[in-house]
Amino acid sequence: MMASIQPRKVPYFLTGPGVIFFAALLGAPMVMTLLLSLHSYDFNTGIQPDWTLANYVEVLGDSYFQKIFGRTFGLALLVTVICVLIGVPEAYVLSRLSSRWRSVFLLVVLGPLLISVVVRTLGWALFFGGNGVLTMTAQALGFGDEPVSLMFTFTGMTIALVHVLVPFMVISVWASLQKIDPQSEDAGLSLGASKMTVLRRITLPQAMPGILSGSIIVFALTASAFATPAIIGGRRMKVVATAAYDEYLSTLNWPLGATIAILLLLANIGIIVSYNKLIERRFAKVFE
Amino acid sequence: MSFLIFETLNKKFGDFVAVRDMSLSVERGEFISLLGPSGCGKTTTLQMVAGLLPPTSGRIVLDGKDITKTPPNQRGLGIVFQSYALFPHMTATDNVAFGLEMRGVGKAERTDRARGALDQVKLGQFVDRYPKDMSGGQRQRVALARALVIEPPVLLLDEPLSNLDAKLREEMRIELRLLQQDIGVTTILVTHDQEEALSMSDRIVVMQQGDVAQIAAPLDLYERPTNTFVSDFVGKTNLIQGQITGDNEVNVDGTRVSVDTLAHTHGSSVTLSIRPEKFQMSDDPSGHEVRVEAAIFLGASWLYRVKGSMGDLFVTQPNTGSAGYAKGDVAWLGWPEGALTLFKGAQ
């Protein structure tokens, strides 16, 4: 008889290649980055062989980095709020369209997710630049000849990031709206509720899990966004990701860059995990 | 020696006993039904025969060979799954030819034989259709053709008709039975539908919570159930509690009913079983007096719920074309000798 694999071991053979690949090429680099953040750096002699938390003390204590972290957090919060404000109504509108229009507009709203972030951000850079459309419009309307530029501004970054990330909010809310039994809305109407009341008391609460998970996705992606802040914000309006980039590729202070990256990762995971816990606790009873 | 033998088959899932000490001998060409409510172990038994589940203990012997440990792809049995389990990415012909291909039959021959099998189940028109383009009944036939074309020693049917609508189901019962007799293939059918089992089988195995409740031919099973579970599950019946008060006499809440009590001890509690259609209902004031509480017209018959001194009873009377009894009417029930079955103990 042929030697055969014990049934109990089969799943480990099937997942084995992935697990080994990930352990070697994800586990090892992540651990090394953590270790690197514990070394100090000297501008003349490079990375030191010592073990220290000095980098963490520096990043967390330095007002320069505090400002960058604060700005990143504020940006993420603002982008998330705007995405909720415009993404939730849009998802609702989409769910109300006839099926033909719905598939067209789903394509319009979700399609950009497949287009490179660089390209999408470039579009805003063209709007925002000193000789961009914004300036031309302002001049044509007689607001003076000064170029109006949103390049390198917080506002510019916010607009571009909302554009890049709002599809995630729409799709997430859309998914939970899909699960709603349309008859529950009819039932509300039949019981004498107005359309507005049905929306507020019946539809919105059922869409809440989608709004929350959309928020977490948008928040996490904004907090770690690189391409859009790098192009629109540039050196003048640094966020955590662009600051880490500069530490690595311009200043060459790798340990400090690694520290920023580790802190970003911890913040990211912390937010996702606590948000998930919150969602589970609040909605576990209602939604399976 | 019988063709297919189950020897004290047991199947446990952890502490749960799905099948307990199942023993059965099936003759060549016989049509056997495993009948019972969901969770009674009938599907588990079928899967053990198919080789998809290993028994915890016991043996399965086919044509003198112990196949208990034979893998499913070497048993050569034909199986029709409840979901039909057609291969959605293959045409009807390719579905049917798959088993032949696995047996190394050449392409031309297996296409020929597959088409022949599809012809046999009246699907000659649909040989190139994909399952998604077929109706439930057509899919069911493809599954049947696929199972039969490999000329299996045993055909296993797992609730094959349960996904069809009522009318089609009745037609398929007859067709399936005729086909089976025609080919002469030994068949085991798993079903929870007692009509299906009664109408198709040579013998029926009634199962209850992993145990065999009774094994008998359809008429025997219906007329002479050996316990209240079988009498209640196979067909409809009225179960009446009483006490033996004398020779051939049972007392039901003060009403004396005469019945053969030979096998039972004086004074013991018993349960009487009588089928609704065994009653004769008339205006002639003799027999058991009852008042009609509900009357339901079923087309071919009337179903009444009546109340009398023996408690609530269900009565079925054939539709003779005239109006039946109405709610509130008083009528008298009689029954022929032997219509009552007596079981030991209270229900």
Binding site: Y12, F22, S116, V166 | -
Partner: protein, 264 residues
């Protein structure tokens, strides 16, 4: 458009304009006949599309991205399919941990991955190599491939496989003839989504790619940080058109909404 008041319609129109505006802007600028950034007010011109051909470094970067995406998406699928079958159809100790591990890159910012790979590869002497970049991309996109493979493996009933088994097929034949064809649509969708994700990736690649392995997004990013000109707009227009074609395929076969639920 039933049940929608005028306010909702106006909102919807503004939202769609907001979504499309930057893309239309890029496309408009790419057709300018001027030598500098401007809208094609004096007539359309293809000069900036011809200019792409004079910039072989962009074309090289494009092919680099295509190759990278093909290889890494294929490896990601090869890893994901068996893993998805195991996770979807077996209960085994450690299943949840393994599945969380293989999906974990979704929770790690690309910047962090970039930083980690930069240091890792320079330590083990793979800095700037194509295979290092490809491996990094595999890590990044495997979760996408895995999720689509998981979705199709979970929806797969074992009945058809059992049927094939009882008809005499060996386990390998069952996999090749039944299981694989049935999960193929999900696998192909996973491959395509992985391909696009890899093709578009910037943040991690900016750290890992060397001048010799520059991908198109990295090349474009470096160009934009230096200068924004109609050339970069025309390249972007080409990308928009290509992506649109892929998007139509994905939408046709899977529905974009199904692919993106929970992405990110």
């Amino acid at each position: 458009m039933q049940n929608l008041g005028p306010a909702a319609r106006i909102f919807h129109a503004l939202f769609v304009i907001f979504i499309l505006a930057p893309l239309i802007m890029v496309i408009a600028v790419s057709f300018t006949d001027k030598g500098y950034l401007s809208l094609p007010t004096d007539g359309l011109s293809l000069r900036w599309f011809r200019a792409i051909l004079d910039n072989p470094d962009f074309i090289d970067a494009f092919w680099m991205s295509v190759w990278l995406a093909v290889i890494s998406a294929s490896v990601a699928v090869l890893i994901s399919v068996p893993a998805a079958l195991a996770i979807a159809r077996h209960k085994f100790p450690g299943r949840d941990v393994i599945s969380a591990f293989l999906l974990s890159p979704l929770m790690i910012p690309h910047l962090v991955l970039g930083v980690a790979f930069l240091q890792f590869y320079s330590t083990i002497g793979l800095g700037g190599s194509f295979y290092g970049l490809a491996a990094a991309h595999v890590i990044l996109i495997t979760p996408y491939a895995l999720r689509l493979a998981l979705a199709s493996a979970t929806g797969l009933s074992t009945d058809a496989e059992n049927a094939a088994l009882t008809l005499g097929a060996s386990k390998f034949t069952v996999f090749r003839r039944i299981t694989l064809p049935l999960i193929l649509p999900g696998v192909a969708g996973g491959w395509l989504l992985s391909f696009i994700t890899s093709f578009d990736e910037l943040t991690m690649s900016v750290f890992v790619a060397s001048p010799a392995t520059q991908t198109l997004p990295v090349r474009m990013y470096h160009h934009i940080t230096q200068t924004i000109d109609p050339l970069i707009a025309s390249i972007s227009t080409v990308l928009i058109v290509l992506t649109f074609l892929v998007m139509l395929i994905l939408d046709r076969f899977y529905g974009l909404d199904k692919i993106f639920v929970g992405k990110g």
